[in-house]
Amino acid sequence: MSIDGSNYFDINDILSTQQRLPCKVEMPIYRLGYLDSSSESEHLQPGTKLELPFWMARALCSRKRHIVSVDLPKQYKEGYREIFSADPTMVDLHKLGPYFYNYGSQLLQFELPETPDVAKSLLQTFQGRLRKIMDSSQNCFNEDTSKLVEKLDESERILFKEGQQALNDFQCWETRKTEKLKTSEMVKNHRKRKRVVLEET
């Protein structure tokens, strides 16, 4: 979920659109058989089922073009949606695709029959998990907050970090640490790396 309007240069956006989804070839695609590792044929024949990255599937399946048809990855289908609505806070969204919400939102562009349900499920899942993220981000980092963070998707982790950062900034202010002017982080890290390099050679 890039903070600005869809951002061409955003690495997270690029990584999230790399994720794969199940596709079925509808029209012959010549001389690209190698894309389907499970067959030796030189071409992709109609009916072949394979997983393609989102960026490619999006170019081959739209209102204008129907070279392939697509299906939702399992984590967005009904089975999982029921698990999410039962207890959203328990689910490990990082394992189900680190960019769960961003990728889920982009899948809606395919306007599949289940699109409205997926959209609703994404919103409700996010709303259901937010309190826990907020509360844990306000406690100091310990092993059960780290257990929680492992189950968060990338955008949730950004929220968690924002909460932790705001708490940390406030505590530094309260204990007057912010009054001390400090060396810039980059300069410090750079010095550390240089010292490490010197010790090794």
């Binding site: 061409y8 029209m27 690209l32 990255p53 490619m56 002017l181």
Partner: protein, 195 residues
């Protein structure tokens, strides 16, 4: 898989964006440009074959074109994010980058950095007519006029606004105007002593 190398290029960059700059991956970029060349040439063959009457080639052309766009986006994002990192270093290190960082920059990035330096300096000098305003200073709200500092390394003589000369010898302590020594603290030359 198509555009796989381009993605690895970006993943490698994202792994090391903790404040340092990884080496410019010249070979990675060349390989991606070669993949693009091959894809384009195959598309040209299919297009001319279609003109000559063959049909059904459009879907292959469309697929390869999406891979071309993807590769292009990854390459531009790679360069863009490296420039963002280099730009951040201008504000953190100052106008001269440490040699280890410069070593990881390609020639064009070094040129970009000096152009950025110049345009930033020109802009700052042009603010408000008189001497301009140094935007790399006053990064934190001022607290007191003078602060106590200790030298972390020998830094030779320093002439203050009021005209007296300070000898910044390692571990020597001084009472200086905050606005005059803020950048020396950020560079790690001085340390701010707070009671």
């Amino acid at each position: 898989m198509l555009a796989e190398k381009a993605l690895d290029l970006l993943r490698e960059l994202q792994r090391t964006l903790d404040g340092s700059l990884p080496p410019y991956n010249e070979d990675g970029i060349r390989q991606i440009l070669e993949e693009m060349k091959a894809l384009f040439e195959q598309n040209q063959k299919d297009v001319s074959a279609t003109v000559a009457g063959e049909n059904g080639l459009f879907s292959g052309v469309q697929l390869r074109h999406s891979a071309l766009e993807r590769n292009k986006r990854c390459l531009l994002a790679y360069l863009y994010n490296r420039l963002e990192q280099i730009k951040k270093m201008r504000w953190e290190f100052g106008s001269v980058l440490p040699p280890e960082v410069k070593f990881n920059m390609c020639e064009q990035e070094v040129q970009w950095f000096s152009k950025y330096n110049k345009m930033l300096a020109n802009y700052m000098r042009s603010i408000g007519g008189e001497g301009g305003l140094d935007l790399t200073q006053d990064l934190k709200p001022p607290k007191t006029l003078y602060i106590e500092v200790r030298c972390l390394m020998d830094h030779g003589e320093f002439e203050t606004q009021d005209g007296n000369i300070l000898l910044l010898k390692k571990n020597s302590q001084h009472f200086m105007l905050r606005s005059e020594c803020e950048h020396l603290i950020r560079q790690g030359i001085l340390e701010h002593i707070v009671h």
